[in-house]
Amino acid sequence: MLRLTAERMGSLLARRAAMPLATSSARMASHGHEVATTVDMSKPLYYDRKDTPLPDRAYKDVLDTADKGLKQKEKGPWGQLSKEEKIALYRIMFCQTYAEMKQPSDEWKTVMGGIFILLGLTGLIVWWQSIYVYPERPRTFDEEWKAKQLKRMLDMRINPVEGFSAKWDYEKGQWK
């Protein structure tokens, strides 16, 4: 019985281990600009956040010659900038627009799925524990004992004004 349970748990763990790997690779594929080198956290960082609009630095901080030329043109009157140039300047400063940030994703399905799988696993563990770990059931839970306990509480007049014994009719010997 123990070996059978371990096998079941083993297959469940394999499925659980494979799932986050699959989803993380999917997420990595969508992020083309993620770098593998370590980030210097002492310098201002760039971030895309819906709640904090203006990041600590521009998105592109190393500009090639075309972008440098554009930045020079930005110092002049903006009416002279074409629509494409304005968009290019925006994309130098920011990675994603608010519309892009707000795009819904399917992450909630992964989260809910993970929650349910783990809940199920916990349920199995608790069930196994209830059979192999729990001590003997106390005698105070037997129906006969509980009936005697109830009668004793009524005899002692527990909470006779508004509570327990107030609901018992002592003349008729039944609940009110």
């Binding site: 004793r152 005899d155 002692m156 007049r157 006779p160 004004v161 508004e162 107030a166």
Partner: protein, 76 residues
């Protein structure tokens, strides 16, 4: 296009002037409601209980049920 100058100061005062009277009156209402829904009926319940309470009769009933250790049920 010229925008209207935004609100620069006095925001906390404005919020308090709106919310504090509401907060105080709702709390007062909650206290009054609790008094008349809970404490008054409870006082009445206790008064009614003790109006018809015979302590000796209750004691003897409890004694016969055998819950006391100082007095055993009256063996007949």
């Amino acid at each position: 296009m010229s925008l209207q100058k935004p609100l620069m100061r006095g925001m906390l005062g404005k919020r308090l002037r709106f919310h504090l009277p509401i907060a105080f009156s709702l709390s007062l209402l909650a206290a009054i409601a609790f008094k008349y829904a809970v404490t008054e009926p409870r006082k009445q319940a206790y008064a009614d209980f003790y109006k018809q309470y015979d302590a000796t009769k209750e004691f003897n009933a409890m004694r016969e049920a055998g819950i006391f250790e100082s007095v055993r049920p009256s063996e007949e």
